[in-house]
Amino acid sequence: METLILLLVTGLGLGALYFLIASGLSLIYGLMGVLNFAHGSFLTFGGFAGMEIARRIGAETWPQFILAIIVGGAAGALFASLTELLLIRPLYLRHIEQALITVGLSLASVALMEGIWGADPIYVSGPAILSEVTEIAGARIPNDRFLLIFGAVAILVGMLAFLRYTRFGLIIRAGVENRSMVTALGIDVRTAFTLVFAIGGLAAGIGGVLASQYFGYVSPHIGGTLLIFAFIVTIIGGLGSLVGAAIAAAIVGVLQQLANFYLGGTGDLIVVILLAAVLLLRPTGLLGKRAH
């Protein structure tokens, strides 16, 4: 029982990381039809930016740690906005080329971060309470898992509120449905493009700081590893659906943990089988509307 609870919470924590990437991927794809292969780099960059703050002023107290999160998020958002403005926009509507250019960016940016910070993991620590455990029904659960889950839920709620209650959110929702009609109402939909990149980058950047707490280190490759599962989550959840991505992230994270423990380390495999099953039975994903 204790093990099960630990696995569930850990799975949700991992799912939270997947969601922090998948939410941006899904929004970007939903609005612009762009597959962003560089999204993992946004996370990694956020992680390094947070690490730099922690190294300079420390991250042991909550204000310091929150500052690290903010800076990580801002770094991710900045990186993402520049990507949209400089690389994606010139290739407007040419989806394959857009995907290709993000491939180039992910190669170049990972290499550059390796050049700056080295290929080896850099260990980080946060507020002491994160490395302690909380007992729930006998299960001793590391506190960082709760931070991850809280972070992802906060981002989900924030994004949904933004989409629901702001004019930009309205434009984004309408654009996901029918982009050309939005322009035909006299709205410059490209502003919304930059914005979804910025939002996606923000979530990924925050994810980077949180991931470095979960793994205990940052390295140039953490983003790339998480990205693959975020892709799977995006498809299972239904491209373009935030809530779908959240549900799928939770399912994938938990399933992976359970299978790794009870089925002899087959977590990754089970997830891919789940993906295949979803594709065959419901190609639009859990909450996706369109066939892609």
């Binding site: 039809g33 290739l91 170049a108 940016s109 290499a111 380390g265 066939a291």
Partner: protein, 353 residues
């Protein structure tokens, strides 16, 4: 018969046959290309490198069927290379099969796997297809890393030479492997051309341009796409098998997303849609890659100010940047550039005359 004759008489065919003949003769010639080949062309080191270059060229040809012909962006093509190399490696280690029958079995397995995985992943199109293929390759990579009793895990699987014919084993027989690689590349080129010109090839090309119009004609896009995907997978598996013998083993790197991305980079630099661009791009890439690494490590780079030295000492940074620039400013890659220069010159000649 007549068709074959007229095919042979075409100037491009003659040029190709000439090129193949030159390539075939390299192991008995004594040509040195300092800076690119480690020794004269007959030396095992050079032949090994050239053979590897041709295998990557073949791999690029197989990927050309996906992206160039069918317009399918796959992020998991390395899976089939690994299927060939690991499949053959495991069969040779675990069974008493001779090389050739083992290759036939792996070929059949790869055919089936490419067909089934293709069927599943083609349930989605476009960008989602890319994500799904990536996921499958990832699963393959996990299988290889986890099942080390068969695959030897992270250390890589060495080739068991007990049942490999003698003429393919040992440094002195590198030239034989070189010729095998040359044959594989020529076959891959012909196979790619054949698929491209077949009915399925025409249909997938039409789908790439406008799927709606093809659907309106009552043609189901799945079947021709599946043919292209299966052919590409099988070709990659064949390349993988020869790779195992050439490199005397294989390792999990050969299924990583990085390998697929490398092939993708080659195709884009060579020019999407160009068969020659893919093949030559693959070969040039292998030959230049070590140059790039040498350049990145060179003392001149180290002496530059830090903000230049850090990025320039990362080969992948340089490569990624070149890639981005080509996508942005050189659509059609280097093959397109070549075509434009040639046609520009022709136009000028016309103007003059």
């Amino acid at each position: 018969m007549e068709r074959i004759l007229s095919f042979i008489k075409r100037p491009s065919t003659l040029v190709s046959i000439g090129l193949i003949a030159v390539m075939a003769l390299l192991p008995v010639l004594n040509i040195s290309i300092p800076g690119i080949l480690p020794g004269p062309t007959w030396s095992p080191g050079s032949l090994q490198l050239l053979a590897l270059a041709m295998l990557i060229g073949s791999m690029a040809l197989s990927y050309h069927l996906l992206l160039g012909v069918a317009g399918l962006l796959s992020f998991g093509h390395a899976l089939y290379l690994a299927m060939g190399s690991y499949g053959l490696g495991i069969l040779l280690r675990e069974t008493n099969l001779q090389l050739l029958p083992a290759m036939v079995i792996v070929f059949a397995i790869a055919l089936l796997a490419a067909f089934l995985l293709g069927f599943v992943s083609l349930q989605v199109t476009g960008i989602a297809f890319a994500m799904v293929t990536l996921a499958f390759a990832q699963a393959g990579s996990v299988l290889i890393r986890r099942n080390s009793q068969f695959t030897n895990g992270e250390e890589g699987l060495p080739l068991n030479i007990a049942n490999v014919p003698d003429f393919l084993v040992g440094v002195f027989n590198t030239r034989n492997l070189y010729w095998v690689a040359l044959i594989v590349m020529v076959l891959c080129f012909l196979a790619a051309a054949w698929v491209e010109r077949s009915r399925a090839g025409h249909v997938v090309a039409a789908i790439r341009e406008n799927e709606l119009r093809v659907r309106v004609l009552g043609i189901k896009p799945l079947q021709p796409k599946l043919i292209a995907v299966t052919a590409a997978g099988v070709m990659a598996a064949v390349v993988g098998m020869v790779y195992l013998v050439l490199q005397s083993g294989t390792s999990p790197e050969n299924i990583s997303a990085d390998l697929t991305l490398t092939i993708l980079v080659i195709i884009v630099l060579g020019g999407v849609g160009s068969r020659w661009g893919a093949m030559i791009g693959g070969m040039v890439y292998v030959l230049l890659e070590q140059r790039l690494t040498a350049f990145a490590r060179s003392p001149e780079i180290k002496e530059l100010p830090e903000f230049l030295a850090i990025p320039l000492s990362e080969p992948l940074f340089i490569l990624g940047t070149i890639f981005i620039l080509v996508v942005l400013f050189l659509p059609g890659g280097f093959a397109g550039l070549g075509r434009r220069i040639v046609s520009g010159r022709k136009a000028k000649l016309k103007e003059l005359s």
